[in-house]
């Protein structure tokens, strides 16, 4: 489980994350939703230790220790086109590798099981650049899962994916949560959030305005106040 206490992130005079305190339990799939600019990415980055922030998390403060506790899937993941898929997934084992970077058996089995869970095992031997966008995203997820950490943070992983890959990705995430991993996934697709997550955290202008079970979170009032849309999909001026 992970505990966030009074997390605030400031860019100069602008506060992008405003005093967020919340707890996520083990095995929970949490969807982090909110309008553009509400601070979802910044909150995830702060938890991952990528942004300086006020407040504390229950994660270790040393960068190397924290790397063994959480995996982070950035919003615009990249990887070199000419590297092989298995080499990229193997990079997920970096926090556990010694100076000579040799993969042990434990490393290799973590890589293989992550690849099988994401159905990227069949791409081994191919260059990353030859895969489609959806396949590449699965490789990135395999890399994140290969680290086998208790916590996974993902920043809008379904962006730019077609429905097949979106749902396939969410299925994999759901399965990880069922196996005991804590997930905090920023999503802009509210339907996916409602369908796959256990709880939904709603952010607005940097503040956490709701922390509810998934089936209850996206009420008409919520949609109206935070997202300025109606249940039937009309916008509110």
């Amino acid at each position: 489980m992970i505990d966030l206490k009074n997390i605030s992130v400031r860019y100069g005079r602008k506060t992008v994350v405003d005093d967020v305190s919340v707890t996520a339990n083990a095995g929970q799939f949490i969807a982090l939703v909110g309008p553009n600019g509400s601070g979802k990415s910044s909150l995830l980055k702060a938890v991952a230790g990528l942004l300086p922030h006020d407040g504390a998390t229950s994660l270790p403060s040393s960068r190397t220790d924290r790397a063994k506790q959480l995996s982070y899937l950035a919003q615009n993941c990249t990887a070199p086109d000419h590297r092989n898929v298995e080499e990229i997934i193997a990079l997920g084992r970096t926090p556990f590798l010694g100076p000579l970077s040799k993969l042990s058996e434990a490393d290799q089995s973590a890589i293989d099981s992550a690849a099988k869970a994401c159905e990227t095992y069949q791409y081994f031997g191919r260059e990353f650049g030859t895969l489609s966008g959806g396949e590449q995203m699965r490789v990135h997820l395999s890399r994140a899962l290969a680290t086998d950490t208790p916590l996974l943070l993902a920043d809008e992983p379904t962006t730019a994916l077609d429905p097949y890959y979106q749902i396939s990705l969410m299925n994999i995430l759901r399965a990880s949560a069922d196996a005991g991993k804590t997930l905090i996934v920023a999503l802009h697709d509210l339907k996916l959030a409602e369908r796959f997550a256990d709880r939904i955290w709603v952010m607005q202008a940097g503040r956490l305005v709701a922390n509810e079970p998934a089936e209850k979170a996206l009420s008409e009032a919520m949609l109206h106040d935070v997202f300025r849309v109606t249940l039937s999909g009309e916008i509110i001026d």
């Binding site: 990528l50 960068r63 790397a67 063994k68 982070y72 899937l73 950035a74 615009n76 990887a79 070199p80």
Partner: protein, 322 residues
């Protein structure tokens, strides 16, 4: 072919090229005499020529080439920019400024320390200016700026130089040459270049992870800031000592990593030692060619030849790839 085999191949080629270069020079020396000269068993002048002229020159060509190759590979891996090279990022310009200052104040004995010192100063300035956002884009911008400033100040100093021949000397020096290489240069530049190369090799594993992007690398436990320090220090040592003894030899750091990446498909970490060996081989071969073909008139300048040969080859590679 596996990366290890490539390393062995390029390394062997480097050693072979170095040995071959001992047989090339303006004076014709028979093969057995060359070998005797290596161990000091030939006649006095031949011993001097082999041990104090040709051997230092070959060693220095290898050292400077290795430094340039390793720096280029590391900078390209770190900035994930195929155009990154020690020349672009201002290391060469800062080192040249240091050396020119030593000449201006009439302390030629301080050329080497000044070149390295200023390369390190430039490295420090680059890191400080990109401190807010350590990583590729900040470093490239800071590097270009520092390099431009160093070039401008160098120009100013030469403009004000009391030595009436300063400007022409500088022009020749900026074309790069190993013609005055001697054993003292090897003894000083050697350990410094090797130290720099070791720092660069050490940054290799982090470069692999940085290929995933700086945020992801950081989340995997890599310190982007520390990696940048390793790289910047390593480059300053390699380039500073290289510029101090050979002047400005450009381009090698840019295209040697590209050529080797194309040939070997090695990853970012293995590319560093491969480029070191490749750069060493390249410079030894070119310098030998220069010695074999230059007449008693104006000698060909190393920096010019490396560009003339390197660019068309690089263009041909690019054309083949598309």
């Amino acid at each position: 072919m596996s990366t290890r085999r490539w390393l062995f191949l390029v390394g062997s080629f480097c050693v072979a090229a170095g040995l071959m270069s001992l047989f090339i020079g303006s004076t014709w020396i028979a093969v057995p005499d060359v070998l005797k000269g290596l161990t000091g068993r030939a006649s006095g002048p031949v011993n001097t020529i082999i041990q104090d002229i040709r051997l230092p020159r070959a060693l220095l060509a290898a050292l400077v080439g290795a430094g340039l190759g390793a720096s280029g590979a590391t900078l390209q891996g770190f900035t994930r920019n195929p155009l990154a090279a020690p020349g672009l990022l201002g290391f060469s310009a800062c080192a040249a400024l240091g050396a020119v200052l030593a000449l201006y104040f009439n302390v030629p004995a301080l050329i080497m320390p000044a070149a390295i010192g200023f390369a390190l100063l430039g490295a420090l300035a680059m890191t400080m200016f990109s401190r807010r956002k350590p990583g590729a884009s900040g470093l490239v911008l800071a590097g270009i700026g520092i390099g431009a400033l160093a070039t401008a100040i160098t120009g100013l100093i030469m403009n004000l130089a009391p030595n009436p021949w300063a400007l022409s000397e500088l022009v020749y020096w900026l074309m790069g040459s190993l013609k005055n290489a001697d054993r003292v240069d090897v003894l000083i530049a050697g350990p410094l270049t090797l130290a720099g190369c070791i720092l660069l090799f050490l940054s290799g594993p982090a470069l692999r992870v940085l290929g995933l992007g700086e945020d992801t690398a950081q989340s995997l436990g890599i310190s982007v800031g520390r990696t940048q320090w390793l790289i910047v220090l390593g480059c300053a040592l390699c380039i500073g000592s290289g510029v101090a003894v050979a002047g400005a030899i450009g381009f090698v750091g840019l295209f040697v990593p590209h050529i080797l990446r194309f040939l070997t498909e090695a990853d970012e970490a293995w590319l560093i030692p491969l480029s070191a060996l490749g750069g060493a081989s390249f410079l030894v071969v070119i310098d030998s060619l220069i010695r074999a073909t230059s007449g008693p008139g104006t000698p060909l300048y190393l920096g010019i030849v490396t560009s003339l040969i390197g660019v068309p080859f690089f263009l041909w590679l690019a054309w083949r790839q598309s």
